[in-house]
């Protein structure tokens, strides 16, 4: 089952008590359709991670409401709303491997499902299923998570979230610190899972290649607000606007613009990936 996400005038900060500073999120309005893969981008400190935390009830809005499916998160909530929301929203934090804690990989992955009331035997089955989904061998389940390499730990941490079978998956830079191959593998496993389970997925990233390769929609944040929310190809087609927000282009598109400028030949389409660019260059006879 997939789920819709709606933010209505959400403002939030990390301060407790009466002393207020400026909001980390301010009047965020956002509607994400069910089953889409959205990339959240923006400079450091623009509120990307905070946006994800609201989705999971970890950061409670001081103003406005966040609608997650039929649940509403707002200032004075009944506590059971959080439990319902967290059951449905799986969150992969920055450096998720730092949250591994159990004695074995199996126990670590089962922790989430068991907490939400799944019987142990069933949780074990889930664990052995997801461990394969993330590209690891069954025998790793009996090992200590702390004996694994960085890339393996990251996969185990993600497996722990997938085992909860979330309807909404939010990921905060899941590829940070991995080598390019490891990163590509993690991203493609997430994309496959997203498609198979028809999840609604939000990915915070700095990497425009990720945006170009995986996302359907782009959400741009700046100073705690959503300043743009568009389909990915439309988003990359307006160069002047991208420049205004000082956003980078994916390599292929950036190179395409240079080629067009230097040769005076316009390529037939907007190229977001290397393959598209290669095809286009051959098509117009430049290569």
């Amino acid at each position: 089952m997939a789920m819709q996400v709606k933010f209505h005038n959400v403002a939030a900060d990390y301060k407790l008590g009466p002393i207020r500073q400026s909001f980390v999120l301010q009047s965020v309005n956002l509607a994400i359709s069910s089953g889409t893969f959205s990339a959240v981008i923006g400079p450091t400190g623009s509120g990307k991670s905070s946006l994800l935390k609201v989705l999971n009830g970890l950061l409670v809005p001081k103003q406005g409401q966040a609608h997650i499916g039929d649940q509403v998160i707002e200032k004075e909530n009944d506590k059971h709303v959080y439990k319902e929301v967290r059951k449905r929203v799986g969150m992969v934090f920055q450096f998720p491997e730092s949250q591994l804690f159990a004695e074995t990989v199996l126990q670590d992955i089962c922790f989430g499902p068991i907490n939400f009331g799944v019987p142990f035997e069933e949780a074990k089955k889930l664990a052995s299923d997801v461990i394969e989904q993330v590209g690891l061998e069954q025998d790793i389940l009996t090992k200590s998570p702390f004996s694994l390499s960085g890339g393996q730990k990251r996969r185990v941490a993600i497996a722990g979230i997938l085992a909860m079978n979330p309807d909404i998956l939010v990921l905060d830079e899941p590829g940070a610190g991995l080598d390019p191959k490891g990163k590509a593998e993690i991203m493609s496993l997430i994309l496959n899972w997203h498609r198979k389970k028809e999840m609604t997925t939000l990915l915070v990233t700095h990497d425009m290649e990720d945006v170009a390769h995986y996302a359907d929609e782009v959400i741009v944040m700046e100073n705690g607000s959503v300043v743009m929310h568009e389909e990915v190809r439309d988003f990359f087609s307006d160069d002047q606007r991208l420049e205004k927000w000082s956003l980078e282009l994916p390599n292929a598109r950036r190179f395409q613009l240079k080629v067009e400028q230097d040769t005076g030949v316009k390529l037939p389409n907007i190229c977001l990936t290397k393959n598209e660019l290669v095809e286009a260059l051959i098509k117009v006879g430049l290569a």
Binding site: I41, P43, K48, M208, V259, K274
Partner: protein
């Protein structure tokens, strides 16, 4: 040329039960004012090497010397004063209750006078563009901002060697570019030696020399151009990737490494 850092036959093993070494016979030198990039897959021993270089781990075999000083239990404190280290996950290294306290922490340990400390902290925060956050609590900053504070903490110490272990991963592309430029300037003006452990192509491309590690060994070293051409498994800069793809499609591209400028020139013909 002055040898700033010499590493000879470094061998290290994390888990004595295993047969494979985490590092085996790693040797290299870094010259003063040189930018050395160390690349390799996860688990190839890069971070272990960084920890050995600052004496956080003790090698089984081999020797490290910085500015002619050999690393021992007695000299490691002096060597650490020469090397500024920034880790991948900045949350692991915060102590101060405000950004400026955190940057000043290393300086306080050196018994620096207040006035000098103030200048150093101001300069360092300015370099990473974090001055306006100086009174903020580090734990409330975003991932990228924390990383910049961690880099400022290292720069404030004015190390002769800056050792970056994936220190840029949480930065947005623009801040990354800014910081790379700042470092390139420091390298020229202060003769700073930089060792960066990285997966980032752009960070590798600005270095003077690249060291490739695989399963705990140095398997190749050379200029970025040489390395990108020789190591097919490593993602090269985009223009070179494009050249390889075009070649695979049977197009008559040149068979040597191409920079972006060269690629554009070739396409314009």
């Amino acid at each position: 040329m002055v040898q700033q850092l010499e590493v000879e036959n470094l061998t290290f093993q994390h888990d004595q039960r295993l047969n494979s070494k985490t590092l085996s016979n790693v040797s290299f030198t870094v010259q003063k004012g040189e930018w050395l990039a160390i690349i390799g897959h996860n688990g190839s021993g890069k971070s272990t090497l960084a920890q050995l270089l600052v004496g956080l781990l003790v090698p089984e075999n081999g020797q490290i010397s910085a500015d002619g000083l050999i690393m021992t239990e007695d000299t490691k404190w002096e060597i650490r004063r020469k090397i500024g280290l920034v880790f991948q996950n900045p949350e692991n290294q915060f102590i101060g209750s405000t950004v400026q306290d955190d940057v000043a922490f290393g300086l306080e340990n050196l018994n620096m006078s207040y006035n000098e400390m103030k200048i150093r902290v101001d300069e360092a925060l300015e370099m990473v563009n974090m001055t306006r956050f100086r009174f903020h609590e580090p734990t409330n900053l975003s991932g990228g901002q924390m990383q910049r504070v961690a880099i400022a903490g290292a720069l404030a110490l004015k190390p002769s060697i800056l050792l970056l272990d994936e220190a840029f991963v949480m930065l947005d592309p623009l801040s990354r570019k800014d910081l790379l430029e700042t470092l390139e300037n420091l390298k020229i003006t202060e003769d700073l030696t930089i060792i960066s452990i990285t997966h980032d192509v752009n960070e590798t491309a600005v270095s003077d020399r690249v060291l490739v590690m695989e399963s705990g060994e140095v398997v190749n070293s050379g200029s970025p151009e040489e390395i990108f051409l020789a190591e097919q498994a490593i993602d090269p800069p985009f223009a070179e990737q494009l050249r390889r793809d075009l070649m695979a499609k049977g197009r008559s591209v040149p068979e040597t490494y191409m920079t972006e400028r060269e690629m554009l020139g070739w396409l314009c013909k």
